[in-house]
């Protein structure tokens, strides 16, 4: 191959890369190859922690994500709700992200209706609270004071599901679906240590490595990172495949990740081969 061609390849128009990436996303959607995958120890640990929650207990879900991180986190969010609801675990949810309420409320309503759960008695959504770390600190101290009203305008302390639950440590577990700041790191730093809370986290792939030290230190009892983590959790929740009407969003989407990752790796390898060959030729010249 001519040296010129290799140099041109290294500086090729990025629109070719965009086209390749577009195809790498589109083709696996049209022709999926469902490769088998194993479950990571951290996701297994998260599943086991939820599995150990006794029926009738109540957990606190902090749904801290937005439409941008929805493809990575909604599959976990849905699978986790299925997991909790079929175990008869009640939940109270809130969010620290302003764009989360219109995103998560329809999912809560859809899935709780599917399992015949009643608002106020079996679950509640307290809505958004600004204040970031301060809001987390306040959730650790006093939830009805922090969220005087729920999303529907009801007084939080009057909700049946909140009876006997005043602060974060009263709940069987805190499940944080976190796309970044404020999220898992802030929960761990602000209230996990102080109240010795049981926290499980589902986060984006990019944040996952940041939280592994918390998991290893026992500050998180489980960690699901990105779409692969969500797919693994779906596999654990639905080992025999999804029931009618349920779509395993992450399991379907890992096909795209397979080809997308492969495309980037091939690009990097080819780019380096071209780089090394041209550098060697330049050194010899």
């Amino acid at each position: 191959m001519k040296l010129d061609t290799l140099v041109k390849f290294q500086h090729m128009d990025r629109r070719w890369i965009f086209l390749g990436m577009g195809l790498a996303i589109l083709l696996p959607m049209l022709f999926p190859v469902n490769l088998p995958f194993k479950v990571d120890e951290r996701v297994q640990s998260l599943y086991d922690a939820v599995e150990e929650i006794p029926a009738g207990s109540t957990v606190f879900i902090s749904a801290d994500f937005d439409p941008a991180s929805r493809p990575e986190l909604e599959p976990f969010f849905r699978a986790n709700l299925h997991h909790l609801l079929r175990k008869d675990v009640k939940f109270v949810s809130a969010t620290l992200w302003p764009s989360a309420p219109p995103l998560v409320l329809p999912i809560f309503e859809e899935l709780t209706a599917e399992y015949g759960k009643e608002y106020g008695k079996d679950w509640a959504f307290l809505g958004f609270k600004d204040g970031k770390e301060l809001a987390i600190k306040a959730i650790g101290e006093n939830i009805p004071e922090t969220f005087p009203q729920d999303i529907k305008g009801n007084k939080v302390e009057d909700l049946e599901v909140m009876r006997g639950f005043k602060q974060a440590k009263d709940f069987a577990m805190i499940i944080n679906v976190s796309a970044g700041f404020p999220g898992t790191r802030e929960y761990v730093l602000q209230i996990q240590g102080q109240y010795d809370l049981s926290i499980a986290s589902a986060t984006t792939a990019v944040s996952g490595p940041d939280y592994i030290p918390f998991y290893k230190a026992g500050q998180l009892n489980g960690l699901s990172a990105g779409m692969p983590g969500s797919a693994q959790y779906e596999k654990l929740v639905f080992p025999d495949g999804p029931p009618d009407g349920v779509r395993l969003l992450a399991t379907q989407s890992v096909n795209v990740l397979n080809v997308g990752h492969l495309f980037i790796i091939v690009l990097i390898v080819l780019g380096n081969v071209a780089f090394l060959v041209t550098r060697q030729a330049e050194e010899q010249a």
Partner: protein, 212 residues
């Protein structure tokens, strides 16, 4: 006097909030709870301040037809429109069929998701151009990145010969060198935060008061 009162207040409140970790008395918690509530109110007020700031910065540029005034006009109209339909919808604004919900589902969600989705294309392009084995450190980074990338997806596990070992090696990279580096960063940042906190409480650091 103008700076002494805020400095004394910062000192007292800072010291009081630190004390909460060491004094588990209910009476103490009543006061820290009150201070937290004030903090939350201030955070909400900051939202309002941001709103006014946005208008204050952008409206004159629209009126004076400065560069990109059209974009700023779209932003201000969107801001006002969302505010109006949000208030109009009240607690029912998230119900299906409400204008606010419609705006969220059909304007905000596609825009927000599109912006994030574009990253896939730019990351591919940036990785192709930037990931070069120029020296030993860059080569180590490159090899580690490729192993983690391929092992994170089912394709890695399905590779012949190395498929079984690849996830184990990836986990080692994530659990040993990754954690070692991140813990070092965390501890360094935490010590920095403690020292900054102490500097603020003791009045050595005064930039938050608008002075050096």
């Amino acid at each position: 006097m103008r700076s002494t009162v805020p400095l004394v207040l910062t000192f007292l409140v800072g010291l009081f909030m630190v004390g909460e970790y060491f004094i588990p008395h209910w009476g103490y918690h009543v006061i820290t709870q009150l201070l937290l509530e004030w903090g939350l109110i201030l955070a909400a007020a900051a939202f309002l301040l941001g709103l006014f700031n946005l208008i204050q910065v952008n409206l004159p540029k629209v009126l004076n037809r400065e560069e990109d005034w059209g974009y700023k006009l779209v932003m201000l109209i969107s801001l006002a429109g969302t505010l109006v339909v949000g208030f109009w919808g009240n607690t029912g604004r998230l119900n299906p069929g409400e204008a606010y919900k419609w705006l969220f589902d059909f304007v905000f969600v596609p825009l927000n998701a599109t912006m994030f989705a574009l990253l896939a294309f730019y990351i591919a392009s940036a990785a192709f151009r930037a990931f070069r084995a120029r020296n030993l450190e860059a080569t180590v980074l490159l090899v580690a990145a490729i192993i983690v990338m391929i092992a994170r997806v089912p394709l890695g596990e399905s590779l012949p010969l190395v498929g079984e070992k690849l996830p184990q090696f990836m986990n080692w990279i994530m659990d040993v060198p990754n954690i070692a580096a991140r813990r070092a960063i965390f501890i360094g940042a935490a010590l920095g935060a403690v020292s900054t906190g102490l500097r603020v409480i003791l009045g050595i650091e005064r930039s938050h008061l608008g002075a050096d």
